[in-house]
């Protein structure tokens, strides 16, 4: 009978980084010949058939199984109790948790959840055999919380997920001109205010035709969005677009319209939009923070401080200098190869081999 390697995450959905990763890992595990199911505490109806509720895990549970626990937000007490009870061998796969201080004054529920999630890390270290991170950056944090056996299993980039035809309305509206793109939840750790300030200089002094396209949902962080909109208004800036949540065809269209991807984020456990930018041939400029330098690994352009005027001039240069932009895009394409399913499969096989399965 095939060895079972299952996965758990409190909830899964299409389109979010962790949900996509869970599905990709399942595909790889099955390709490697393991029996693999996804288990959730809250199962969205559109996911029925693709994942199961943890109440059904009893049928699968066995001391010979490996259960991969995706950890990107705190688990409920019920889940922690369940993990203590089941005899399966467990491994945590850490996607990182935004430091709680970023949510102060913005969302108390998120603040408490982030705080509780970090506290649970230490508890999880006693329940699991190994700690895996989607980046070395995450592994370092696992080590600080008591794990000694560590491993990196990066995010899988599956090009098949981006085959949706780009949304025509988005293309028609935004194609042409200089479009600076950022993709991600409107969350304070991503420092949207820094994007807006850099854009202020770009628009006022370098390229008056520039647009700033901010793609991502503000759900639960509406107060931060209010602040950002007020800032745009106070600076009298035009052409700053908050799109809200977008479909996959709209997302593809925004990447197709983008002249450049700009990140001023201060905390990222990995940075999936960087891979998407690499795939769509969009040059990346990112502030050197958290796991971003590791994800780029020498590709793209990093800046070490938030000198807004210099960032704006750099954007101007990159857009004007075709040769420089071409070299950056080529290097990014090379880096993307490391995240394709074939590459990650090798790393997954190595980690499972170390566990003796």
């Amino acid at each position: 009978m095939a060895i079972q390697v299952h996965q758990f995450h409190p909830t899964v959905s299409y389109g979010d980084a962790v949900g996509n990763h869970v599905l990709s890992i399942q595909r790889l595990l099955r390709r490697l010949g393991y029996r693999s199911e996804i288990f959730c505490e809250h199962l969205p109806t559109h996911f029925e058939g693709r994942a199961r509720q943890i109440t059904q895990y009893a049928r699968y549970s066995s001391p010979g199984n490996i259960l991969v626990l995706h950890f990107s937000l705190g688990y409920s007490q019920e889940v922690m109790d369940w993990l203590e009870q089941i005899p399966d061998r467990k491994v945590v796969l850490y996607h990182n948790i935004t430091p709680h201080t970023y949510f102060a004054g913005i969302n108390d529920v998120y603040l408490e959840a982030a705080q509780a999630g970090r506290q649970q890390l230490r508890q999880l270290s006693t329940l699991t055999e190994e700690g895996w991170g989607v980046s070395e950056y995450n592994c370092r944090e696992l080590a600080e919380h008591g794990w000694t056996r560590l491993g990196v299993l990066p995010i899988v980039f599956d090009p098949a997920r981006y085959t949706a035809r780009p949304n025509r309305k988005v293309l028609k509206r935004w194609q042409g001109g200089l479009n600076v793109l950022f993709v991600g939840r409107i969350s304070p750790n991503k420092r949207f205010e820094d994007l807006i300030l850099a854009f202020y200089y770009l628009k006022r002094f370098v390229r008056p035709d520039a647009r700033l396209l901010l793609v991502g949902s503000a759900h639960g962080l509406e107060h931060y969005l209010e602040f950002l909109q007020a800032l745009v208004k106070r600076l009298n800036l035009s052409d700053v677009v908050f799109t809200g949540h977008v479909s996959s065809s709209e997302l593809t269209a925004y990447y197709r319209c983008a002249s450049l991807y700009l990140s001023m984020s201060e905390h990222e456990g990995f940075g999936v939009p960087l891979l998407e930018s690499m795939y769509f041939g969009v040059p990346i400029v990112a502030y050197r923070a958290a796991a971003l330098p590791e994800t780029l690994d020498g590709s793209g352009v990093l800046v070490t401080s938030k000198h807004y005027a210099a960032v704006a001039e750099l954007i101007g240069l990159l857009v004007e200098d075709d040769a420089l932009r071409g070299r950056i895009i080529a290097r990014q394409r090379e880096r993307l190869q490391d995240f394709l399913p074939e590459g990650v499969e090798v790393q997954l096989r190595r980690l499972l081999h170390r566990l003796g399965v």
Partner: protein, 148 residues
């Protein structure tokens, strides 16, 4: 901007030359001020953060029993933005909504401001009373102890 500000790991790219070009471009814009810019944008962002977010986070835990914060007192919708996403019809729709919104605000804003001000005063009064209550309880406790 220090000499290591920019990182491009490509031997074929002269990073120092790019930095020189950036500095040159910044110097060229030096002294350029637009008629609409009266304040430094970074100061504007800091002040707004202070006004809208930091003030509120500082209040957390001010009183364990009275958990009403200034955000809850202020009911004036100062930062409400009416925007559009749909081409052609979107701007028309937004203009209509803005006109209606402005008209409603004309009647409502003064009342909302008065109510917000009253809310703040009531919360402040409750906090003062809470402190006074705690002080008096302590005093009674001390008196009791001295009598025993």
């Amino acid at each position: 901007m220090n000499k290591d500000w920019l990182e491009i790991s490509d031997e074929g790219v002269n990073v120092q030359e790019i930095m020189r070009r950036i500095r040159e471009r910044i110097a060229r814009r030096d002294g350029m001020v637009f008629s609409g810019d009266t304040e430094n944008p970074i100061s504007v962002a800091d002040a707004l953060w202070q006004e809208m977010i930091e003030d509120l986070s500082g209040e957390q835990g001010a009183s364990p029993t009275l958990s009403i914060r200034r955000r809850d007192c202020d009911i004036v919708p100062r930062h409400y933005v009416i925007d559009w996403r749909i081409p052609i019809l979107g701007p028309i729709h937004a203009v209509v909504r803005r006109i209606i919104n402005d008209e409603i605000r004309r009647y409502l804003m003064s009342s909302l401001r008065k109510q917000s001000s009253l809310n703040r005063r009531v919360v402040q009064l409750l906090r003062d009373l809470e402190q006074e209550n705690a002080r008096l309880r302590q005093e009674i406790e001390d008196l009791r102890r001295t009598q025993e």
